[in-house]
Amino acid sequence: MSAGQPPMDSPEIQRLTPVLGPGHTYASVTDKISAIVLTRRTSVGWYIGFLLAFSIFGVMNIAIGYLFMKGTGIWGINIPIGWGFAIVNFVWWIGIGHAGTLISAILFLLNQKWRTSINRFAEAMTLFAVACAGIFPLIHTGRPWYAFWMFPYPSVMGIWPQFRSPLIWDVFAVSTYGTVSLLFWFVGLIPDLATLRDRSTSKPKQIIYGMLALGWRGSARHWQRYQSAYLLLAGLATPLVLSVHTVVSFDFSVAIVPGWHTTIFPPYFVAGAIYSGFAMVLTIAIPLRKAYGLEDFITMRHLENMAKVMLATGLIVAYGYFFEFFMSLYSGNKFDVFLVQQRLHGPYAPFYYALILCNILIPQLLWFQRMRTNVVVLFIMSIIVNVGMWLERFVIIVISLTRDFMPSAWGRYSPTFWDWATLIGTMGMFVMLIFLFVRVLPAISIAEMRELVTETSEEHK
């Protein structure tokens, strides 16, 4: 930001801060974004970061390899706590994977222009998060080599999955979401891939990008088809944003475990997912724009808008917490009442308080514009919300299981080295994929940014 602009907390800022920095033309946008992939030298920082992430990814592979050798007993799970880190991580990653499609699809349908510069990497992040999430349902089974039994394939024995089980609904919800997100992302990429094809100088790049561009020539007919396909996919993806986490929440609300069996879960899980998804977009966007000098494309207005979405969804989540709490007491159900007492006073109470702190109290700072526009604060806040949302799943999934119906069977859970290795390992995989993504694909949609150039220049006239 140059000097002479109005102060940060001015009410004018919203109107004045553009979604695209001033002075950009078609060429400058294209140059700047495609340069990251094609011409700029890969920085040492990228190599260091990638190697670091790659080695953490290696840890994940070792953890999973050892798991396959020994069995799920290497984790901290037991009877009564049959689900531990694996399911917590699954729900957490799936939640994170919500923001991308929400930004691309719902905001697209709502014609929110500010989505343009963040949708591409938000979608990529979604895909990577779903990939991370997808690992867990597979590896958490006792016999992962039979996990395919959860798919309805024509088995010679004529056996089908058991469709009353929410886990089967999960399989469909997550795989559909993953597929549609991938298609949506890929369709959006086609014009940019063509740009890269046209601009790349080496043969292999031309061939690879050329193949991926599916023969895009930028004709009016192409654009017309492209836009209707994109619109249709956006329409298709929109309900999925809401459905995936709704179905994931069924894993719990359909069960009879106190703390799981709650009708408020679907909306509360979706809100939580968007909350954590936006937090993760911020966690990635802030270093990305800094590293590649994209402050003009991902402007303060983007960050602020995302902060606002976080504040709003965070409040919905807080509402969820409150009503979960209230309904437990109001119902008078002794198991639910006991659960509330356990959350407040039980052996895991510190986790519950930490969750309230991370997800409800600290994000209230976002009411202040000074906070919303402070990049460092936003970055820290996004991390805190991610931790908080992870804790939320831990509290719901694990702590509910520690003390359910039969006091004689009450137990406790504590993660092992391998639990942590798997969690951190998937983070490594996620970061590694992000690094690869920014290196080989345009992190910001060139085509849409070009549109934005036209639109904003008209606005500023």
Partner: protein, 1057 residues
């Protein structure tokens, strides 16, 4: 069960053994395969091959160059049945591996097909009598146990004994068993058993030992027989005793000493004090209305306990509110199984129990008096008046570990109450040679010290481990020139003995044994010895003039000679078939007490403020002899729920005084791992370090040191577990020692204990319904107070109800009859091939028992649920209740709905079937199970490699591997066996035809299984009672397993107080 006992012929046994011998050999062979698993590749010597080729003339065929080079490793490879692959054999034989193996074995078959087999393998030409492959057979035999023998029927699959059931005809079983008896079959297959004769640790042939025995006898005769000694445990076998007498005859002057660390010298001496000689007491709890136990755990340990339990609980069966019950008072220092199921329980220090007995004797007019605390005084008055009101129908039982005077007082009180001949009777001693064992053992030690002992035969005892520490037996044993130890394991004593003879298991030998009432049973083997083992009879025979006499001949001849029957052969067969010898029980004798209670010397009271340390045999490993039994190690002790360890038990108040605490660990928590303070205990000039355990209901200032742990040489499973209480036990203070509080010092360390249930409150939930008999009479529906079970559950669902037109299997568990003895848990483990997971996994909350026994304390409010934060007054004497929890087989099962692959499904007869090979292991079913009865194979818990453990498995039950959920199936294999029989005969399955493993083991018949659709079945009748209720009925799971509320029968006089 009677109908299933088929074998009536000796031939059948013999065939049985032959058949088995073949399989034993096969196993030995298998053993070879597993040795030296890695065959190293050996380099080929081309030069040698050339040389070989040069030597040969004519047409030569060779298979490989290796063979030609005469490489011994290749020879070795050829001689194996499955070279290489055998060593790679894993539990997962997938198609690919199978094909590989098939191809490989085909190739090998081609190679070695021209070789003659070295041994002949003969299939059955004539099938042994009664044996149908795939159908188990049942044989009656008896398990010797201390001064008792437990009659059992053993299930045998193609010659492999796999499961033990009680023998209904045997007085010490009456059809029931206990945990130790159930687990005894695992001792047979224990891979750590000693397998041969050894001398100084080196393997010797049996003939070497025979030769040595001959020399020893000759030497002893030459040097004077007194230098030849025998040390045994308690022996009740007439034949073995006769054999020992034979040895003593061979070596005139030789002496027979006895030592049983958890034996009952006090009972013997008490009888001597009362009657002037050793007398055996047999109780008839069934005849008693009022029973007082003076620190006697007569329902769970000691001679006759299984039969006593059965009889006792016959008087507690309620068919309706008009039913009557006996009343049990228990005075004891530490909560026992008996005490926990008492109607009134008074915690008193062990030394005060004597005072109590004196006081009681005074109140029944025997002229003695005891000093007691005021609260106990009131209790005593009430008990005394209740007893005197029930002359002839009351019973006073003194504890095995109480001093002789308490036993004498109990004899006098019973006589004064007119109970002798009514609720108890006296017989001649059942031990072959009753002696005061401490004196006998002391004499032996003194003689060794005096250099008077050259040869010592030790049998049935492990004195290096379990002798009182003041004897310092280890150094004494080393002074003996030739020591021979006979035991099943190469144990601590074997380590210090010159010769060790591996002893056969009772399922491998012939023999006979006397039960607590004198009944003789023939011990018949079900299997030929797995290893080169010998029975004690054989060993003692070696020292007689007939070393070749077999136990079989001896027992048979002895029995036939004693038979008055006209047809001795028939008599013998009947004895084998029945498992008891008819009319062999000792007749009651009448003896007059020669004892004056008033004349007793003043008791030495332990001053208040002093701590009382008492020693008790462990409920699972007893005196340590079962330490290497994984089933018993992993079995949660009835009251403490500790597994794999023993701990010094302290009362909550004493713990508070000493600042001892314990807490649930983050991993495993209440259902797994409790971290306790470690204490140093310095008493009797010795010191031991133990983990402390705070036990509600224990008398103040009492510390219990359970025996049987801290073994150094028990085997893989039993060594170095817990602490060895024998280290601080002296011959002068065998059962209790006093010391000041400074005897206990916190070391500052903590020790994790594997405890399967630490939480003991019900948190106001409808889990265990209890009431008093009075409540039951006034409000027959008391079990349903506050019950939220939906009245009309069918209206709660849109779907049509599933009808069960045929059988509807159900179970009713009468909590009134459960005292948490654990027999069902081990029976289930044995029947259903349930894995032992080890301490570490138990501490993670992963034990695999399909049926668990929950223990709750009632009328107890604590703030946090941890004894550490508890109200100490409430913990002083809580009422204890036990509840066995198998799968509840819900009709509306939460587990079934959530399984993504349909691996747990509902059967048409209402079972929640578990399809192991469909299970992918999401564990969702377990999460959704409100009763938490599902068990998951988190790791590969089953032992697939150890050859001997393969023999123990029940072939009718799948052996589960890792990643699979498992749970109670109502013994579906037994249901199907009965169904096949019934369908063959074209009739419905009869009530009582299917007996689940837990039901058949239960000595108190608390568990009843059957067809709930048949209104005349036992289970339907129980379910029709008003006491019947489901656990957590408000969840509308509609469990098929229901419970009958526990009813206690307190004395209204004491209730008022």
């Amino acid at each position: 069960m009677d109908g299933m006992r088929e074998n009536d012929s000796i031939d059948g046994h013999r065939h049985n053994h032959d058949a088995h011998e073949a399989s034993v050999q096969a196993d030995d062979h298998a053993d070879e395969h597993t040795e030296d698993l890695t065959l190293h590749e050996h380099t080929l010597d081309i030069a040698a091959v050339r040389a070989k080729l040069g030597e040969k003339s004519g047409k030569q065929y060779w298979r490989t160059l290796e063979e030609l080079s005469d490489n011994p490793h290749f020879e070795d490879l050829l001689h194996r049945e499955f070279p290489r692959q055998a060593s790679e054999w894993d539990e997962t034989v997938d198609r690919r591996n199978f094909l590989k193996l098939a191809a490989a074995s085909l190739a090998i078959a081609g190679i070695s097909g021209c070789r003659k087999p070295e041994q002949f393998i003969v299939p059955y030409v004539k099938q042994p009598d009664g044996m149908i492959l795939g159908k188990p057979q049942f044989y009656a035999t008896a398990m010797p146990f201390g001064a008792d023998a437990i009659g059992v029927l053993v299930e045998s699959h193609e010659g492999r004994p796999t499961h033990v059931t009680g023998n209904p005809d045997h007085p010490s079983s009456l059809g029931g068993t206990d945990a130790i008896t159930q687990a005894s079959v695992l001792n047979l297959y224990d891979p750590d058993r000693a397998q041969t004769v050894t001398f100084l640790g080196e393997i010797r042939a049996w003939s070497d030992f025979l030769k040595e025995a001959e020399t020893l006898v000759a030497d002893a005769k030459a040097k004077g027989g007194a230098r030849f000694r025998i040390l045994t445990g308690t022996v009740t076998s007439p034949t073995l005793a006769a054999q020992i007498q034979n040895v003593l005859k061979q070596v005139p002057g030789a002496k027979w000493h006895q030592w049983e660390p958890a034996g009952s010298d006090s009972a013997r001496e008490g009888a001597k004090l009362a009657f002037g000689r050793y007398i055996n007491t047999v109780y008839r709890p069934e005849k008693a209305d009022i029973i007082l136990s003076l620190d006697a755990d007569f329902l769970a340990s000691g001679p006759g306990h299984i039969g006593y339990m059965k009889e006792f609980y016959r008087r507690r069966k309620l068919t309706g509110p008009s039913g009557t019950m006996n009343r049990l008072y228990v005075v004891e220092p530490t909560p026992s199984v008996t005490g926990s199921s008492a109607d009134h329980r008074l915690p008193l220090r062990a030394s005060d129990v004597g005072q109590f007995a004196r006081g009681l004797a005074g109140l029944v007019g025997l002229g003695s008096s005891g000093t007691l605390p005021p609260a106990a005084k009131k209790w005593l008055d009430a008990v005394a008046s209740d007893l005197t009101k029930h002359r002839g129908t009351s019973l006073v039982v003194p504890g095995e570990f109480q001093p002789a005077e308490v036993h004498a007082l109990a004899h006098a009180i019973n006589a004064a109450l007119g109970n002798v001949g009514a609720t108890l009777y006296y017989t001649e001693p059942v031990e072959a040679n009753p002696v005061n064992q401490v004196e006998s053992f002391t004499e032996l030690c003194a003689d060794i010290d005096a250099g008077k002992v050259d040869t010592l035969l030790i049998f049935g005892s492990n004195p290096v481990y379990d002798a009182p520490h003041d004897f310092d037996f280890t150094s004494k044993l080393q002074k003996v020139e030739t020591s021979v130890h006979i035991s099943t394991h190469f144990d601590e004593t074997a380590e210090y003995s010159k010769w060790h003879v591996a002893e056969s298991h009772y399922l491998e030998t012939w023999g006979d044994v006397r039960a607590f009432d004198g009944t003789v049973s023939v011990i018949q083997p079900l299997i030929a010895p797995l290893y080169h083992t010998h029975s004690a009879f054989d060993v003692f025979a070696a020292f007689t003039d007939k070393p070749g006499l077999t136990a079989y001949d001896a027992v048979r001849d002895r029995l036939k000679a004693s038979a008055s029957a006209s047809d001795p052969e028939r008599f013998w067969r009947k004895a084998l078939n029945d498992g008891v010898i008819a009319n062999s029980a000792y007749p009651p004798i009448s003896v007059a007490p020669k004892f004056s209670a008033a004349g007793l010397p003043a008791a030495q009271a332990i001053p208040s403020g002093q701590l009382e340390f008492i020693f008790r045999p462990d409920s699972n490993v007893h005196d340590g002899r079962y330490a290497n039994n994984g089933w018993l190690q992993e079995l949660a002790r009835p009251v403490t729920k500790i597994t794999w360890d023993n701990a010094a038990l302290v009362s909550p108040r004493l713990a508070e005084k000493l600042g001892l605490t314990q807490r649930a660990a983050a991993r495993g928590g209440e259902h797994g791992q409790i971290v306790s303070n470690v204490i140093d205990i310095s008493i009797s000039n010795s010191k031991v370090t133990a983990a402390a355990w705070i036990l509600p209901g224990q008398a103040d200032d009492v510390v219990v040191l359970p025996l049987g742990y801290g073994r150094k040489n028990a085997g893989f499973t039993g060594s170095n577990k817990g602490f060895n209480a024998y280290v601080v036990r002296t011959s002068a203070a065998l059962w209790s020692a006093a010391a000041g509080t400074e005897a206990i010092k916190k070391t500052g360390d903590d020790y994790p204990l594997a405890c399967t249930q630490y939480h003991f409150q019900m948190e106001g939930r409808k889990i265990l319904a209890t009431g008093t008999l009075l409540e039951y009479q006034t409000n027959p529906d008391f079990a349903h107070e506050g019950d939220e079970t939906p009245k009309n559950p069918k209206e709660m669902t849109l779907y049509k109800e599933f009808a069960y037109p045929g059988y509807a299997w159900g179970m009713a568990i009468d909590l009134n009859n459960c005292n948490g003895c654990n027999a069902c848990v081990v029976a289930c483990q044995s029947e259903n091939n349930i894995a032992v997971v080890g301490k570490d996994q138990v501490m993670r909350g992963r034990e695999m028992h399909w049926i668990r026994i929950d223990r709750y304390y009632s009328k107890l409010e604590t703030k946090t649920g941890d004894p550490g934060g508890a109200d100490y007054d409430a913990l002083e004497n809580p009422q204890t209740f036990f509840q066995p929890v198998p799968c509840q087989q819900c009709e509306n099962a939460p587990c079934e709905q959530v399984c993504p692959v349909g691996a747990t499904v509902h059967s048409a007869e209402g079972l929640n079937d578990m399809v192991y090979n469909r299970c992918v292991g999401t564990r969702y079913c377990s999460n959704n199970c409100p009763y938490k009865v599902r068990r998951f194979n988190f790791l590969r818990f089953q032992d697939w490699e150890t050859p001997s453990l393969k023999l123990i498995r029940n072939p009718e039950v799948t052996v589960r591997s890792r990643g699979v959920m498992e749970k109670c199936t109502y013994c579906v294999q037994r249901i199907n066996t009965a169904r096949i029989e019934a369908e063959k005969q074209n009739r419905p399955i009869l009530d009582g035809e299917i007996v689940t493993a837990c039901e058949s083991a239960c000595p108190s018949q608390a568990i009843v299984f059957g067809n709930a659709n048949d209104p005349n079945s036992r289970v339907a009748k129980l379910k029709a009672q008003t006491r019947n209720y489901p656990i957590l009925g408000e969840l509308n799971t509609r469990p098929r397993t229901t419970y009958l509320a526990a009813v206690r029968n307190p004395n209204p006089e004491l209730e008022k107080a």
